[in-house]
Structure formats: C-alpha cells, structure tokens
Amino acid sequence: MSPTVHTARLGLARGWTETRHSLTNPQDLGWNVFVVTVFVVVLLLQRNARVDGSALPLAMLTLPSILGMWVAFAGYSGAAGTLAAEREDGTLLRAKAVPQGMVGYLVGRIVSLSLITLFMLVIILVAGLLLLPDLATAGGSDWLVLLWVATLGLLATLPWGAVIGSLVRSPNSAFGLTMLPLIALTAISGIFYPISALPGWVQGVAQVFPIYWLGLGIRSALLPDAAAVLEISGSWRHLETAAVLGAWAVAGLLVAPPVLRRMARRESGSTMEARRQQHLQRTP
C-alpha cells in the first residue's frame, strides 16, 4: 500500500472515530438539541405568516434557508473553532510528531465535520418536515440538488474556517471572527425573511458571500418551482449558485494549504505551552 493511501485510510478512520465521539458526547448532543429546538420554535412562530404576494407559509421558505445557513456555520465556524481549540490543547502538535500525522489529522477533521454537518441537516430536515408536511413532495432530482449545493457549500466555507483557525491566537478570537460575521451575513442573506424586502445595495453585498447562495440553492431543491418568483430576478439561478460557491471553494482551496503549512511549521511545545498559560489566565 502506498503511504498516501495508508495515511488517507488512517485519516478516514480518525474522522469516523471523532464523529462517533461527538455524536455520543452529552455536551455536543445537548448543543445539537438546543440548536434544533431553536429552529423548530422559529418555524412554529412563522407557520401562519404568509409571504407577501403568495400563499406560501413563511416557514416553508425558512426551513430550506436554515439548512443552507447551517452548512455555512458548520463549515466556516466549525472548522475555525476546532482548529483553534486543537492547536491550543496540543492535538496538532501530537499529529506533527508522527509521520504524515498532520495529513491524517486534516483528513480526519474534514470527514468528521462533514459527517456531523450531514447528521444535523438530516435532523433539522426531519423535524421541519414533521411541521411542514407539504415540503415532502421533493423528488429524486431535488435531493440531488440539495446534495451538490450542500457539498459545494462545505467546500466553499470549510477551507476559510481552517484559514481563520490557523491564524488566530486563541479559540475565543476564532469564535468572534467567525460567528459575528456569520450572524451579520445571515441577517442580510434572506434566511429568515425574503431578501427582496431589503434595499438593493444590501442585496448586492449579500450576493458576494456563500450564505445567500446556500439558502437559495436549498430552497430551489425543496420548494415548488413556482416559488422561484419570490427570488431575485424570479429564478433559482443554479448557474450563478455554482459559480459563486465554486469561486469561494477554489480560492479557499488555494489559500488554505500554504496557511495550514505555515501554521503547522510553527507549532512547537513552547508555543503550545504559552497558549496553555494564556488559557489558564482566561479561566480562573
């Protein structure tokens, strides 16, 4: 077996182990339940509201939008947060000390972040479909659209999360640098309310970033085709979705490797010890 294949297999096994750990960890599970509950409450509140000029309940637009938003949160914030935390706690240094360990670590993290995201998407989707049975009319090709949008969305956000996670000095700054912009972008990306209600320049800003396109792409998968009239230019714009998400993905995959390599090169026992001391000072 070639060393590359060998390392890839170790990385896959590592990703699967980490996924199992997360899905059986009370703290992680509690957080997941909390997130799903919040989304269900939002959907319940919106169930009777109608979208302007349409018979659709607002909640039907919101559920697919939430799925799209979640991909961005999990990819960008999830990658940045775990990388920053695992630099601080020495997981990365451990990986660096074994041959090909960094590659195995990264493959493992990509696998586990993707699987955990997939798990959450399924849970949110199932909870949503129980509330909104009308959505369950999606056919085979619709699920395919959901799959490519979600996959491309992860590719567009995860490498950027890894870049942030490599550059920050502490997990707290990773949290601030990812959650705050994500929340701001969510507010202007037509996730909880149609984007057409916002001023034109705001719509322009939103369309630069992946969240809007993730929401749009998953709405196109789950909503009836007629609902496209509510979108900008009255179309699902699959081509543009693929182009914008693809551009973020390509740029991210070009930027992330050198940044990760630079970060890995600088990891050492004493830098980790310094972060450990900082951490102990933060938490009395």
Binding site: M1, P3, H6, L10, T17, G90, L93, P99, S270
Partner: protein, 300 residues
Amino acid sequence: MTDAVIDVRGLRMRYGARDVLTGVDFHVCRGEVITLLGPNGAGKTTTIEVLEGFRMRSAGEVSVLGVDPARGDERWRARIGVVLQSWRDHGRWRVRDLLAHLGGYYAPYATPERARPRDVDTLLETVGLTEQAGQRLASLSGGQRRRLDVAVGLVGRPELLFLDEPTAGFDPRSRRDFHDLVHRLSDLEDTTILLTTHDLAEAEQLADRILILAEGRIVADGSADQLARRVSGQAEVRWSRHGERFVHATPDATGFVRELFAQYGDEVADLEVRRASLEDTYMAIAHRHERAELEEVSAR
C-alpha cells in the same frame, strides 16, 4: 565520529534582540543516554525543539540521524520519538484506541531490524496502563497521562527518543518503573535517548553523560563522576578515633584511607568518604557561570 546520532556545532538561537543559545556544541553516539541540565530559561527546551525539527535555528550546523532537522522528511520523522508535555488533547479518545491509531502512522516505515509500530498491548503493559486501556484520556490522572505520553513517544520504536521533563508529576514508584524502562530501551534496543530534567538524582541515575547548559551554551560535558572531579578534585574523608571526630579533604581518598588504617588499625571508626554529589557539582558550575557573567557585566 561515524556513529554520531546527534551532532551540533555552533547552534545559535535569537529571539528578537535576545540570544537564547549563543553557540551550542555537542554530539551524541548511538545508544547513549544523555541528560541536558540547566537553570530555567537556559535554552534546554529550545535546543530540544531545534533537534526535533519543531523550531528553526538562527545559525549553526545540526545533524540528527544524519539529516538536518530543518529539512527532515516523514521517513526521518518516523525514526524519532518525541515525548510531549501533553495537557488535554484527545480527551474523548480511549487510551488503547489512540495508541493504536498513532501507531498506525509508523507501519509504512517498518524495517527488518525495527518492527513498527510496537505491539500496543505490550506497550500499555510496559508503561503500566493496561487497566486504563479502555478509559477515556480525559479521565486519566496527571501521572497516567504522562505515562501515555511516554507510550506515544515509543509506539513507533524510535532509534532516537526525546524526553522533555519526562517524570514531572510521577510518584516514586512510577519514577522507578520509568527509569527501568529507559535502561531497557538503551540496553536492549540500542535506543539513543536525550532527556531534560530538573531532578539531579534522576540525571545521575539515568545518564551515561550529562550536559549542562548555561548562558546559552554547554558549560560542562561528561559523566557525573567526571564532572565531580572537574569541579573539585577533593574528596572528603570523615572518621572518628576514641570518640573524637576528624575531617580531612584529599585528592587521593583511597591512599589516605589506606594510610589511616596502616597507622591506627582497629581504632578507626565511623569511616565515611564523600565525593561531590551531582548536586554540589551542578551548583558549583551554575554558580561559577553566574559569577563570571556578573563580573563581565560590571567590567563593561
């Protein structure tokens, strides 16, 4: 030297305007156990991190297993074991799972002489963690975690092992087990070992050779005995005769005692010959360098 595992010449390290290492020279042969001693901030960790390939040096020539650590590839990495001062990584992993996973990375680098990785269950037994094999890392005590760190450093059956403060937090029993392990590794597997410690008794017990690092360079290099002789050629002889106590310092303790018995025979009691301990030696050397430094500063 042909079988030099580590060869360091003129190693310098500068952080900003501060020189941490000002010209470190030493070499280590295959199978040797070397202890690096020195006051805090003397640059022990920096030196080890340069040798591990974790830190870029400012100047000097360094060769580890025949390779410059700054350019060491994964094949080189596989021949080296690093015992890290871990803190709380992999808290959710079970002890045996993590050791087996990390060992897996060494499999492609096995050679006929060195089977890689080591058998995980035997290794767990060696470090005394068999009972904890199914436990999560987060539930281990400090000493147990430290022993797991040692196991992780050994799982690839390294030719060269780096240990930074390996027994910090060990109880006396674990410490002795660990010392036995170090002796076995160097005797049976010809493993070369470089360790740092604050425990002078440990250094004396483990090391074939002791290096003392002070003011950014090696100020002493030799066995505990050689260092003691260098610092003070004198041994102290104490004895009593008819209830009266005597003390005499002499460079030739054996000869002096022979004379003593020849002259007084059975009258000599409570005989004690004391050479400078490693602690005396270390303090003398460290003190001498502090004083030299102070004089240099005041002369400026």
